[in-house]
Every structure is written in C-alpha cells, then in structure tokens.
C-alpha cells in the first residue's frame, strides 16, 4: 500500500488527510506540537471570505470561491460551527468610492454572487451601530464565519476515525531520498517513510520545502493581533465589518464569532520570529482605535482576551500548490488568508491530484459524518435531561461562564486525537474561554485531565508540553 506523509496538523494538513483517507492508502500526519490546530489555524479571523478580495486568476481566487461554496454541507457533515452572516466593506471617504466599485467589479470577475453597493442609510438599516462617518459600503451576503480550530479538529477526528495516523510532537527536521520515496526524519530521531510527502507546515513550509527542492521558497511571518469582546457585546453587529484598505493601511475588522463574541483585528506587522505570538502595547492600541472607527460604541471595558496569529506570507504572493521540482514531494505552502476558506477545496483538489499521481483507488467503508461533542450550554432542556440520564457527568458544570460540563471535558479528552492540555480542552469545549478566562475552572480542568490521562496533576501543561502550570508544594 502506498504511504503518504502529511507534515503539519493545521487546517490545511488535517483537511487534506481527511480527503486522502477516502482512498486505499496509508496516511500519517506529523505535527510538531502536542495537538492539531496549534499553529495559525488556532488564531485568525475565522472569516469564510466571499471572494471579492483575491486577484482574479490566482489560486487564492479559485480556491476561495470553491471553498466558500462548500461550507454549508461540510459544516453539517463534520458538525462544526459555521454561519453565513454576510459582510460589509466600509468606505469612509467619498473619494474612495471608485475603489469600492473596483472591489465590487473584482468580485463579479471572481464569480461572487449576492453582492451589492449600498448607501450609508441602507447600511445602518442592517447594522445601526456602524459609524455614521461612511460614504457607502460593499455588502457581500455570501461571507460567513467559522470556528477555525473546531473545523480543523473536526477534520482531524474524522480523518483519524477513517484510519489516518496522527503522530504528535513530531517535529520534522530532515527529509532524505529513500528508494522511490522519502525518509522524513523527526527531531526525536524517529523517521517515517512516504511515497508522497505533503508539505503543509504553515509558516515553516519554506524550511520544509528548502530541505528538498531546488526552487527555494521564502515565507515572511506577518503578525496579526486581536482583541476579543464579551458576549454581552454581541448586539454590536451580526454582520462582519471590514474596512476598505486605504492609504492609512489595511483595515481592521469587527465581526461576530460563531459563539457570540465580537472579534476585532488583525494588525499586520512583519516579524523576525515565526513563533512570536506576543501581543504588543502598540498593536493592541491600534486594534482598538481602528475598530472604533467602524463601530464607535466598542468599549475596552468589555474585552476579555487578546491574542495574535502569524500569517505565512509567501514571496510568490499566491498559494503554492502542487508537486514540486522533486517527484513525490508536494507543496501546499504560502497558505495565508483566505487559507481557511479555501481549505476544503484545496483538500479535495490535492487528494484527487495525488490519487491520480499514485494511482489510488477509493476504499470502501469511508465514514463521512462526524459528531461533535454535545454543547450542554446551547442544548434545549429535553436534550440536556437525556444526556444527563445517559451520563450524569453532563449534570456537573465545570466552567461557569460558558456552562461546560464534566461530561463534555471527559469526551474531549477521550476522543480520537483527544485533548492533552488545558488549551486542548479549551478549544474543544470552550471551558475557560468565557469572561473569567479560566479563573474558576483552571484547576478543575487540570484535575479531570490528570485523572483521565492517568498522570500527575503537576504534569498538566497549558499548551506546550513540559511547560508546567503548577509545582508540587515542598513540605
């Protein structure tokens, strides 16, 4: 049986793995962190872009359009949060209206449907909290929002159920030719053979490519900082609000999340270090001031957390997708925005392309459907009762702000590719994501993790293995 190695467990790698397990082949995902969705996929805007932004004719435009159209069906099949909520692009200055028109025309070229140029009055009719200092706006109804890490985790779980092998804490450091294929070597000395190696390493995709290929890639890490607001601010907007890029730079968005918070950001700043996820004083101030340009009633008081993500900006200025100059080494690199939107379509394309190249046949018994962890907080009472009857742990609330029960946390730990850290539990269940930011539930989540994993309390990490949260008290 042909063997395929996927390097990187972000949304790109996980979705490709899931589309590949439809075929009769052995798929292994190598991920350097202790969980999937630990890279850029965990920290971005979560917008399913309509497609007016990408330059016509690019891979970005193609996969954006194809991907966007797949979300309804996919989010039901894999049971992850998605909503088509529409988006505005605000134009603040009369002089810029022709450029808004250009954006509209570009959308038409890309094939975007349900797009309109609106007057300020029409905008305020839909979202009354939008600033009165606008000259007009573009309205794209097909824009949506998704929970990016839940999407990637859903893909990964479904891939695993269908036989994909996930190897975590496997940092790829070298790739050597071996027979017809490649030997992929990890930092811990282990190695894996692949007839085909797919490079989905996000911001590190250039380094992985450069281990093998003659044609070198360069990825410039570009940081984006965010501020997230409490759910009580959800009335502010149910539509995504972009700003038109202007001489003042690229704008900041204000958008609802699938869970009812408001997200604002991102900044755009090139950084040296690909792992530099620190927020900065200047960055946060910029997010705040610029977001208030769109929605003046935003108030710092209701911010519950800040974070940042790193864009994998490739000097090619487009996605790099396809077999490289070395046979059997396949790049899916430079996957910056709209990478999340495009992931479903990229995955199908790549899987079909590789099946063709390796002459793979569809296998029997592929299970397309995946069921998410039940979210007690949003279930109707009747279903809550049923759940508790089946498993009383669903009657024990652990995270008070988001109303997450012990049953959900235990499920998150014991699923395929289960949570091993506090952040892993958080991304799967929302425990600790609410307004107190885990002040109350931290140690209870740690207790449950320790119990379920059969390890000591003090070995539980926030995210990175070995970076502990507490120490045993010396007596």
């Amino acid at each position: 049986m042909k063997k395929i190695i996927v390097i990187g467990g972000g949304v790109t790698g996980c979705s490709i793995a899931r589309e590949l397990v439809r075929y009769d082949t052995e798929v292994t995902v190598l991920e350097r962190f202790n969980d999937v969705s630990s890279g850029t996929t965990k920290a971005n805007s979560g917008i399913v872009h309509a497609g007016f932004d990408a330059k016509p004719g690019t891979l970005k435009a193609k996969f954006n359009m194809l991907g966007n159209a797949m979300f309804e069906k996919l989010s039901k099949e894999l049971d992850f949060p998605f909503k088509r909520n529409g988006a505005f692009v605000l134009c603040f200055d009369k002089e810029d209206l022709p450029r808004l028109r250009e954006l509209y025309d570009r959308g038409i070229k890309n094939g975007v449907e349900d797009m309109f140029l609106l007057t300020p009055e029409e905008v305020w009719d839909i979202e009354p909290n939008i600033t009165h200092d606008i000259a007009g706006a573009l309205y794209a109804k097909t824009s949506g929002i998704v929970s990016p890490y839940e999407m990637a985790i859903a893909y990964a779980e479904n891939a695993a159920v269908n036989g994909c092998n996930f190897e975590l804490e496997k940092k790829v450091v070298d790739i050597q030719k071996e027979g017809e294929g490649w030997k992929v070597i990890c930092e811990d000395g282990s190695s894996y053979y692949g007839d085909m190696v797919i490079n989905c390493a996000g911001v590190h995709a250039d380094e992985i490519n450069n281990l093998v290929c003659d044609k070198k890639l360069t990825i410039i890490p570009r940081k984006g900082e965010y501020m997230l607001y409490d759910k009580t601010c959800s009335f502010i907007t149910s539509t995504t609000i972009f700003q038109m890029p202007s001489k003042m730079g690229k704008g900041i968005l204000v958008a609802p999340t699938t869970h009812g918070n408001i997200i604002t950001g991102p900044t755009a700043k090139d950084v040296q270090d690909k792992e530099d996820l620190d927020t900065t004083f200047e960055g946060l101030n910029e997010v705040y001031d610029k977001a208030r340009k769109s929605v003046p009633s935003l108030n710092k008081k209701f911010v519950i957390t800040q974070f940042s993500g790193i864009r994998a900006h490739c000097t090619e200025d487009d996605f790099v997708i396809g077999e490289s100059d070395k046979k059997g080494f396949y790049n899916v690199a430079g996957i910056e925005s709209p990478g999340l939107t495009s992931a479903p379509a990229i995955a199908v394309y790549v899987a079909e392309d590789i099946a063709d190249k390796l002459d793979l046949k569809k296998k029997k018994g592929f299970v397309a459907k995946r069921k998410a962890i039940p979210h007690f907080a949003i279930l109707p009472d009747r279903e809550r009762e049923k759940l508790i009857k089946e498993n009383p742990l669903y009657g024990k609330v652990i995270c008070r702000c988001e109303v997450v029960t012990e049953g959900e946390i235990v499920d998150a730990i014991n699923r395929p590719i289960g949570a091993k850290t506090v952040d892993g539990v958080k991304r799967r269940t929302r425990a600790g994501m609410g307004r107190c930011q885990s002040g109350f539930c931290l140690e209870r989540v740690m207790e449950i993790l320790a119990r379920e994993l059969g390890v000591d309390f003090e070995t539980i990490a926030k995210n990175e293995s070995g970076k502990y949260i507490v120490y045993r008290k010396e007596k």
Binding site: T279, T280, V303, D381, P392, Y468
Partner: protein, 420 residues
C-alpha cells in the same frame, strides 16, 4: 416543577446568613443551591486570620467563620443542595438548576435571593500585552491552588494590582518559600485594606510600586520576565522608565466583578458603577421578589458586613413572601456626589417605617481630613469627620428613625464628602 417559597442561590456567607435569618423570621420552605461540593463560598480558601471581628468579636480564619454559619443552617435543618449549578432565573422566579443526581431541577419560587458572590477580573480585562504563556494566574486561583489543592503556582512572583487578595497572596507565597519580587499598582494608592498593606507587604519588605504597570510579559511556554513602567497622570505608561524583572509567575489582583449573569437572565436592573443590582432598603431588586446580597450586590472587603446585609435580605424576603399585596415602589432615590462613587441601597421607600438604615459606600479617590455628610433635603442629618477615606475601604453610615423620616419627608437623600 417544585414549588418553593424561598430559593437562595449561593451557599457562601451571604446565602448562609440570608437563610438563617429567613428561617428565624418564620419561613420554613427554603432551599440553598450551591455549585461547589461544600458550603462556605470563597471563605474556604481564605485560611488567613481576620474574619469576624465585628460579628463574633474575635479573629477567625475564613473556614472557621464559614463553619459557624454552616452550623446555624444545619441546626435549623434548612435544606441545601450541593454540586448544583443554577443555570437560569426568569423574571417569573422560575429557577433552573442542574446536578448529577437530579438532572435538571426547576423551582417555582415566591422569592429568590441571589447570593452568587463575585469573580476576578482576568488579564484580558486590562489589555496587558505580551506572551500568553503559562504562569499567569488571577490571585484567587493561585490562592485556591495553594490552600485547597496543595500546589505552588510558581517560585518567583510579580503581582499586578494591590487588591486584598493580591496582598494576602504576597504573604502566602512568601510563607510557602516563593520570592515575591514586587507588587505593582497602577493607581497612586492601594485598592486593598490598610491592615493588609502593613501585615502582608511592609512586614515582609516586599516592594510595593504605586503608579506602575506591566507593559510586557515575556516567556516561551512559561513566563520568564515582566517589563514594568511608571505611568503618567493619565495612567499611560512612560516607556523610558521601563525595567525588566525576572520571574516565572504573575498574579493578577486587578479587581472583583459581581457575578450577575443570573440577575441579567431575570431582567434585573444593574448599576453600571457597582456591577450589582440596584436595590431598595430591603435589598429588593427591580424585579418584585428577587433580592441580592453579599458580593454579588457590591464587592465587600469584610465578611461581617456581608453577613449583616444578607440577614436583612433574608428577613425582607420573608416579609415579601407573606405580603398580601404587591409592594408599592414609591421611592426616595439615594444619591451620591462629591467623591462618593456609589451608595447601596440606591432607593428608600417613602412609606415604610424603619428604625434604622445602613448606607454602604465607596469613595473614588484618597481623601484626607474630610467629612462624610448625609443630606435630607438641604439639611445635614449626619456628619462625621474622617482623617482619611480610601477606595479600598468601604464606608458605612447608620441612619436612625428620625433621620429616615426626614429623608422620606423631604424626598431627597444624598451622601457626599465635604472637604474642610
């Protein structure tokens, strides 16, 4: 649906005192719902001394203080349910709760007392930039880890904020062998009690830096240092004063927020200043039959005042249950000005006959040599000299029958500071 005369949400000192006094006022159909597996609320993790000086005239630890009230509740045979989280309270006083044993529980209550306490403001609430690694805790979480679970959050600590929990944790961490490198406070004064500054900070020679804040947190995976800087009059950091302190742990003691999610679900009107409900002298909220007391109403620094306030709430709830008619809401608004940030209660009934009324308040800054004054109409009905008042210490005034009548008659009641 279970019919209940009185449902009390929260089994901390507020809920316990309210239950005790409701029982002593004749009510027997009471249930206390508590989500933790023990009664006592936040007191269980406060193993230091200093509780009960007013109520019991002796110095107790938190758990000792709680156990006195727990015994009172148990002696009276008042029903309580542990490990039971209340999910929702409707304005019709239907209380929905959940636990492992009973599944979903629905109570139809004649009166509800919200005694849910407060939570700590998280890092996100003040936009501290930097790494989002492990090693950053709210002070109360750290307190629970050390005192209840027996684990240390870290070895070298910087504490941001000088609220009481932060001050107490500075001492506690020191006792446990950690090095507290600094307590950093944004304001030019502490928001904690003076006695805690002396006993927890000065006695241990821990540097307490006023008008400073954290401008950056460094660390990969775990905190490795913080950068602090002085702030100017507008509380903006002066970057030229930045200095780096090595540490592996940051504790945040940056404010407590009343936990009013349930009040919101019941459409109770909240005060933007206290974060708690707006109440009348009976501790009744804007919804008939829903009462609030303790830290959910406004953050207290002394548990003795929580107990007192809650006993009032318990008594009033029983009066409400036994009423024949709807309460008339004909009120004198209790206003505050001149340095007084808030006053609780916010309303006084015009017609109720009262022997005494306690007004609780906090000021918005440090004031020296001032007078705390209460006006009924234009008349000063109360005045007390104060050498110093600070935002960290709640002030309280007790009005007698005659003063109350004056206020009711003049339709105006106001609390303020008057400088000399």
């Amino acid at each position: 649906m279970i019919n209940k005369n009185l449902v009390i949400i929260g089994g901390g000192p507020a809920g316990l005192a309210a239950a005790k006094s409701a029982y002593d006022s004749g009510e027997r159909d009471i249930v206390i719902l508590e989500r933790e597996s023990v009664l006592g609320g936040v007191l269980n993790q406060c193993i230091h001394n200093g509780f009960g000086l007013h109520t019991f005239k002796e110095e107790l630890t938190g758990p000792e203080y709680a156990s006195r009230y727990i015994q009172e509740v148990q002696k009276r045979g008042i029903e309580y349910k542990l490990d039971t989280t209340v999910l929702n309270v409707s304005d019709k006083k239907i209380v929905t709760a959940v636990n492992e044993k009973d599944g979903l529980l629905k109570y139809k209550a004649k009166a509800v007392i919200l005694a849910c306490g407060c939570r700590e403001r998280p890092r996100g609430g003040i936009n501290v930039a930097g790494s989002r690694c492990a090693g950053i805790f709210s002070a109360g979480t750290a307190q629970k880890l050390i005192n209840i679970d027996g684990y240390m959050p870290g070895k070298e600590v910087v504490i941001l904020g000088s609220g009481d929990i932060g001050l107490i944790m500075a001492r506690r961490m020191t006792f446990e062998g950690a090095k507290v490198k600094a307590v950093v406070e944004l304001m030019p004064y502490s928001s904690g009690l003076n006695r805690n500054i002396v006993q927890c900070i000065k006695d241990f020679n821990i540097p307490l830096l006023f008008s400073h804040t954290i401008v950056d947190i460094k660390g990969e995976g775990r905190v490795s240092s913080v950068v602090i800087a002085k702030v100017d009059e507008n509380l903006q950091p002066i970057m030229s004063t930045a200095q780096e302190i090595k540490c592996d742990t940051i504790l945040l003691s940056i404010g407590l927020l009343p936990e009013n999610e349930l009040a919101k679900s019941a459409s109770v009107q909240l005060s933007p200043v206290t974060g708690g409900a707006i109440v009348d002298e009976n501790m009744m909220t804007s919804v008939d039959g829903i009462f609030e007391c303790g830290n959910v109403l406004h953050v207290h620094d002394l548990v003795d005042f929580v107990s007192m306030e809650s006993e009032d709430a318990g008594r009033s709830a029983v009066e409400y249950i036994n009423r024949k008619s709807k309460p008339k809401r004909d009120y004198v608004e209790i206003k505050c000005s001149g340095g007084v940030r808030y006053v609780v209660p916010q309303y006084l009934s015009k017609s109720d006959k009262l022997d005494k009324l306690q007004l609780k308040m906090r000021v918005n800054n440090v004031y020296k040599d001032t007078r705390l004054v209460v006006l009924a109409g234009d008349e000063e009905i109360y005045s007390k000299k104060k050498q110093i008042v600070t935002p960290g210490e709640m002030e309280s005034v007790i009005l007698n029958k005659e003063m109350i009548e004056k206020a009711q008659k003049s339709d105006k009641l106001e609390v303020m500071l008057k400088g000399e």
